[in-house]
């Protein structure tokens, strides 16, 4: 699927918000190319021992479901209604006030009413009413209930893979109903009958076996990190060490594999390597736990736990004191809200203390994992880094709060503190589009594949529009973020909506500004762009 097939921005932005003439229960899904993701390849399901591996396409009339698929889904719903208060409660208490509707980037970008969080939830609520409530059993449609049919399942597939679990709706809901929670359960149910997408399951299968999403083997990871060290030497004249699988290190560093695999994440990764070198941190990467991201979050709670288990296991094997995590969004949702509960207690680790400043990271006392942005902010605060922000003068920056650090952690000030100390030209986007109200990149939760490009451009539109405003007002040319998915998905989004804006991790800015011992005169930034010239 190439970009050529999606409408031009000027056409795409003409969005029709008028709902269809037919009621939503009677409007079937149209699997229009460009708006859905390819199903998971059978080999990935087999590798993860997941049910119903087969070759199929969403456009097919027959999805080759197991014979008793309905029973499986309904039993699965029953089990989850008993296991998750969130699920049961969110099925019951919605009053359909519609406050969430125009808060969803997919609704804003597509005008499809089933992308209103309320209606996306009703897709599953209607089935809940039909099979799990007396009113639904007795009154059917009148009570908002409907039978579970293959068409309903297809609708679930289409719309639960048109939700990036960003939680923005939950901020505005008067009861805090979180569509992410409903989508997560919806996807779990779909997974029970083998309806899932490859962009989620392939990384998950890779991660399970090789330790990272991209299937990079141990030697490959070493080569890539060494390659980044070469680039650092080229830019700064300083040779940095890349410790891997080092027993006796104080700290295990875990970051998304995209950071050492693909631009522009690599520049962020260079920033980490330079920082750790400069402060003399005794740390190590791991090849076994070479992935911070966790596509289990987009599959099922069980898969999340299976993939996440590696981090503690590796910390224990290597005998580190605590764990440091790189810039990533959904990775931090898992670490902050799930890891300790799922795979803890991490009583074999020590309470995190910065070996440089002596700061005790009280907020990570139990999980023993610190966000690199917290770690760096503390270093700067204590004056342990020499920074020259003028080296970022060619960058006119704005900052995109990534969904999960924003709405599942509340990590707002630390990245801004680093930016304030590394960057002279910083401009915030509109208030309704940052911090807890931040808009998703439009391609999180496993939707960042090429075949889904039209939907990505639609879903990313609200973010891109906000960027465009600061581009026009302040000449912004760089979009900062602390998320690896953002670094992968925002560049095509910017190319489509706001050409000329590049995407940057916060530690890339730090790497640019960091004055290192023994460095040569820096004439280029980490991207090898002239420092004085404006960024292309």
């Amino acid at each position: 699927m190439s970009l050529a097939k999606i409408p031009k921005p000027d056409d795409l932005i003409k969005i029709d918000y008028a709902p269809p003439k037919t009621g939503w229960m009677k409007t079937p899904v149209d699997f229009r190319p460009g708006t859905w993701s390819y199903p998971a390849a059978p080999k990935n399901l087999t590798a993860l021992e997941m049910p119903n591996p087969r070759a199929w396409q969403p456009g097919d009339a027959d999805w080759k479901l197991p014979e008793n698929w309905k029973r499986i889904i309904l039993d699965g719903m029953k089990e989850r209604l008993e296991k998750y208060r969130s699920f049961r409660l969110f099925m019951d208490i919605c009053v359909r006030c519609g406050a969430c509707a125009d808060k969803c980037h997919f609704y804003i970008g597509s005008g499809d009413p089933k992308n209103m969080p309320v209606l996306r939830a009703e897709l599953i609520r209607s089935v809940y009413r039909r099979y799990f409530t007396a009113s639904g059993r007795c009154f059917g449609t009148l009570a908002g209930a409907r039978d579970l049919t293959e068409d309903v399942l297809k609708e679930w597939f289409y719309y639960f893979y048109q939700c990036t679990e960003c939680r923005r709706c939950s901020v505005f809901c008067p009861y805090g109903i979180d569509q992410a929670e409903i989508t997560m359960i919806g996807r779990e149910l779909l997974n029970l009958v083998g309806c899932n997408i490859n962009w989620v399951l392939e990384p998950a299968a890779n991660c399970f076996r090789t330790g990272n999403h991209l299937g990079i083997l141990p030697g490959g990871m070493k080569d890539m990190l060494e390659f980044l060290a070469d680039d650092i030497e080229d830019r700064t004249g300083v040779r940095v060490e890349v410790p891997i699988n080092k027993k006796g290190a104080d700290i295990l560093f875990v970051t998304p594999s995209a950071d050492y695999f693909a631009d522009p994440g690599t520049y962020t990764c260079m920033g980490y390597l330079m920082l750790f070198h400069e402060i003399g941190l005794n740390y190590t990467f791991s090849t076994y736990a070479s992935e911070g991201g966790n596509f289990g979050l987009f599959t099922s709670h069980e898969m999340m736990k299976r993939l996440n288990a590696k981090i503690y296991a590796e910390a224990r094997r290597l005998g580190v004191k605590w764990i440091l995590g790189g810039e990533c969004g959904h990775m931090w949702r898992v670490i902050h809200q799930y890891m300790d509960t799922m795979n803890g207690p991490a009583d074999f680790l020590e309470e995190p203390v910065s070996p440089i400043t002596g700061t005790r990271f009280e907020n990570a006392r139990s999980t023993k994992m610190v966000h690199v942005v917290e770690f760096t902010a503390d270093l700067i605060r204590n004056g342990r880094l020499k920074l020259d922000p003028s080296r970022n003068d060619h960058i006119r920056l704005t900052f995109h709060d990534s969904c999960n650090p924003a709405r599942a952690m509340g990590l707002f000030e630390e990245p801004r503190y680093i930016i304030a100390n590394t960057c002279n030209h910083f401009y915030e986007m509109a208030e309704d589009t940052i911090r807890e109200k931040t808009f998703c990149c439009g391609a999180g939760a496993g939707l960042g594949n090429d075949e889904n490009m039209e939907m990505r451009m639609r879903g990313g539109m609200p973010r891109a529009m906000a960027v465009r405003d600061v581009v026009q007002k302040h000449g912004v040319n760089r979009l900062g973020c602390i998320c690896a998915i953002d670094r992968a998905t925002l560049p095509p989004l910017m190319d489509y909506w706001v050409p000329g804006v590049a995407v940057t991790g916060v530690h890339e800015l730090l790497g640019n500004a960091l004055v290192m011992k023994g460095e040569k005169e820096r004439t280029t930034d980490l991207r090898d762009d002239e420092i004085s010239a404006p960024s292309p």
């Binding site: 000027d10 969005i15 918000y17 709902p19 009621g23 021992e49 209604l81 998750y84 208060r85 699920f87 049961r88 409660l89 019951d92 919605c94 359909r96 006030c97 804003i108 009703e122 009113s135 009148l142 009570a143 901020v171 505005f172 809901c173 008067p174 805090g176 109903i177 979180d178 929670e181 076996r209 090789t210 141990p218 030697g219 090849t287 076994y288 288990a309 296991a313 094997r317 799930y338 300790d340 509960t341 799922m342 803890g344 907020n363 006392r365 139990s366 999980t367 917290e374 709405r407 599942a408 952690m409 509340g410 990590l411 707002f412 000030e413 630390e414 503190y417 609200p462 529009m465 405003d469």
Partner: protein
């Protein structure tokens, strides 16, 4: 189902209740059932229904700590955290819940997103918050004012509330502000639902039914107060009879009173079972009532069970040669 049809069915449903009330008023036996038996039945259904509902929710565990954070978390000591929007302790969580329950904090954030001339515009949309809050506060005031019929001597707070509510002294008996704001809130909520195409599209029968039913309750109440007065002594005597478990059927309370009573009974009995159970559910919402301290303190999952993982040993067994070739240390040579 077309929204117009749905509204008509909701109207018919409320009319059916009214017809039942008319029948009760006409028949002596039905009247006795309505005034002597139904109140206890309705109260029991309401109380037990609500308890059942809450226990059903509560029986499902909260496996993970998933607050939606809407402010800076408590992290480094020099960073100002937002103790309410991102609670770091129980007080913060209580504050956050109080904000939600009493002030509809989250709804207050509501803004309208529009695309105007290819630009994204965020318009203020506090109307839903304003009228929503107004409706709920009015409903509470109306309910509390009714306590004058159920308490002897009348609770001084209720007398005070009624005096305050009627301080405009328009007409005799005085017009209550809360009655007017209740109607205004209802009108806004109903029109918003019936007119805005998007909201109409998501609306179900229950949404219209709830509004129409409450409107019918309010209308019959207002008619009794201002246009077709009922004998308040008789009403209070009846209510006090219920409360003291010695109910006496009223001699002649009038059709309107039966209608009002019947509608209220249906509303109260339905509360625990439909969407109106949000009044209890909000207290259990895990994205709002939890403290955001999951890295500071381990949250326990009642059903946490082992899963199949890929161990380091399996990993090294598969990649040992590659690791050695790359010069990476291995556990087993």
């Amino acid at each position: 189902m077309k929204s117009r049809q749905t509204i008509v069915i909701a109207l018919l449903a409320v009319s059916a209740i009214a017809l039942a009330a008319a029948a009760a008023a006409a028949s002596k036996t039905a009247g006795l059932v309505l005034t002597l038996v139904a109140p206890y039945l309705v109260l029991a259904v309401f109380l037990l229904g609500m308890v059942y509902r809450v226990i059903r929710w509560a029986k499902a565990p909260v496996p993970f700590r998933i607050p939606t954070t809407c402010g800076q978390e408590k992290s480094l000591p020099w960073i100002q955290n937002n103790p309410v929007e991102n609670p770091a302790g129980p007080l913060g969580a209580i504050g956050r819940m109080a904000g939600e329950v009493f002030l509809f904090r989250s709804l207050f954030r509501n803004a309208q997103t529009e695309i105007v001339d290819g630009r994204q515009v965020f318009g203020s949309a506090k109307g839903l918050w304003f009228f929503g809050l107004m409706f709920h506060v009015s409903l509470l005031a109306v309910a509390l004012r009714h306590l004058r019929f159920f308490t002897e001597p009348v609770v001084p707070f209720v007398t005070g509330l009624s005096a305050l509510d009627g301080f405009l002294e328009i007409g005799v008996p005085a017009l209550y502000i809360s009655d007017m704001t209740l109607l205004a809130g209802l009108a806004f909520l109903f029109l918003r639902r019936a007119v805005l195409p998007q909201v109409r599209y998501i609306s179900l029968f229950a949404d219209y039914f709830a509004l129409i039913l409450i409107a019918a309750v309010a209308a019959t109440g207002l008619l009794m107060r201002h246009f077709f007065p009922v004998d308040l002594n008789a009403v209070k005597t009846l209510a006090m009879g219920w409360v003291t478990f010695a109910p006496v059927a009223p001699v002649d309370a009038g059709f309107l009173f039966y209608l009002h009573l019947c509608l209220v009974f249906v509303l109260i009995a339905w509360l625990p079972f439909g969407k109106l159970s949000h009044m209890a559910g909000i207290f259990l919402s895990p994205t709002r009532n939890l403290i955001n301290n999951s890295r500071r303190r381990r949250h326990l999952n009642a059903w946490n069970a082992p899963v199949k993982v890929h161990s380091y040993e399996e990993y090294e067994d598969e990649f040992r040669n590659k690791m050695k070739a790359a010069g990476l240390p291995v556990e087993k040579e």
